[in-house]
């Protein structure tokens, strides 16, 4: 049971909010960092004061956990096969992905196309901004202090660690997602994929290739392709 099992429910219920008495069990069982205690305190206060319910917190977590990189892979595969869609995606990311049923509220979605000459790699040095509606919950390494500090300074070293070797003639452009935009990388379409269906192509589009630490898989299943 969580450390909050013995939470005191002796508070005054006369504030008019209908308690459902659902409790919220956090994923992290043993908080240790200051921010974890802060999150617990804030969440419990908001629930106690009736601003949000425990059910809403749980529902929101589950809603985010249902999102996955398969969404982004569908977008990329369509961009690879439909040039009109690719153009619309580059011009207005939000409107283009809405055609496929993805709603990205408030934030501006920007698609970045990787080519032989230009390779984008996305980081958020200030926090962990990530296109969650298309890629789901970010990997832990994306949020790590190590990735966030190294990506902008030693991108070629990071790329090598992900097995991504690019020639010096390819410009590596590290894109720091510092504000109201979320970036989706469109990896370069691998060679030898002519005639493949959109669904077959989507299977080649890894999460990391849409962050830009990797390239899309080669069609022979050998991992990466240039």
């Amino acid at each position: 049971m969580s450390t909050h099992e013995h939470h005191d429910h002796g508070h005054d219920h006369s504030h008019g909010h209908a308690h459902d008495h659902t409790t919220f069990q956090p994923d992290i069982r043993e908080p240790s960092e200051e921010w974890e205690f802060l999150e617990i305190a804030l969440r419990e206060l908001l629930i106690d004061k009736g601003v949000i319910t425990a059910r809403e917190v749980q529902d929101q977590i589950e809603a985010w956990e249902k999102k996955s990189p398969e969404g982004g892979a569908r977008v990329v595969a369509k961009a690879w096969t439909d040039d009109g869609f690719r153009q619309r995606l580059l011009e207005d990311g939000n409107a283009a992905v809405a055609e496929l049923g993805f709603e990205i509220e408030a934030l501006k979605l920007v698609a970045l196309e990787n080519t032989d000459d230009l390779h984008h790699m996305v980081v958020c040095t200030l926090c962990s901004c990530y296109p969650r509606p298309l890629l789901g919950v970010p990997p832990l390494w994306y949020k790590s202090r190590e990735y966030r500090s190294r990506a902008v300074r030693e991108p070629r070293a990071i790329l090598a660690e992900f097995g991504t070797e690019l020639p010096e003639t390819t410009e590596v452009r590290v894109v720091d997602s510092t504000a109201d935009c979320r970036y989706l990388v469109i990896p370069r379409r691998p060679d030898g994929t002519e005639g493949m269906s959109e669904a077959e192509l989507a299977a080649l589009v890894s999460r990391d290739s849409m962050i830009g630490t990797a390239t899309a898989f080669a069609p022979d299943g050998e991992g990466r392709s240039g």
């Binding site: 300074r153 070293a157 410009e171 452009r173 935009c181």
Partner: protein
């Protein structure tokens, strides 16, 4: 309308070190770059963070820096590599 800077404008990031919630990374303070995209205008996040309206909205730009300008050789990158950040107009100075 792209606000005070047009695409291709050369700019310098302010050197300031204000306290509080700031969205301009420290490693780019005082660096010179080029505006490559205008995103539109957005409420000022440095005010929103304190429960204020963030109005008037600020123009937001993607600014491109060379790795050499940023790190002066001290990093793992190739000569033509670059880094961009999304920076609000109040953090930029014309060059």
């Amino acid at each position: 309308m792209t606000g005070p800077y047009s695409i291709g404008a050369k700019v310098k990031v302010s050197q300031g070190l204000p306290p509080g919630h700031v969205r301009t990374p420290l490693f780019l303070r005082g660096r010179e770059g080029e505006v490559i995209r205008h995103f539109g205008d957005f409420p000022n996040p440095e005010r929103l963070a304190y429960g204020l309206s963030g109005l008037p909205k600020l123009h937001l730009y993607q600014v491109l820096f060379t790795m050499d300008e940023t790190w002066e050789g001290d990093g793992a990158y190739a000569p033509g590599d670059t880094v961009t950040a999304d920076i609000y107009e109040t953090w930029l100075e014309p060059l």
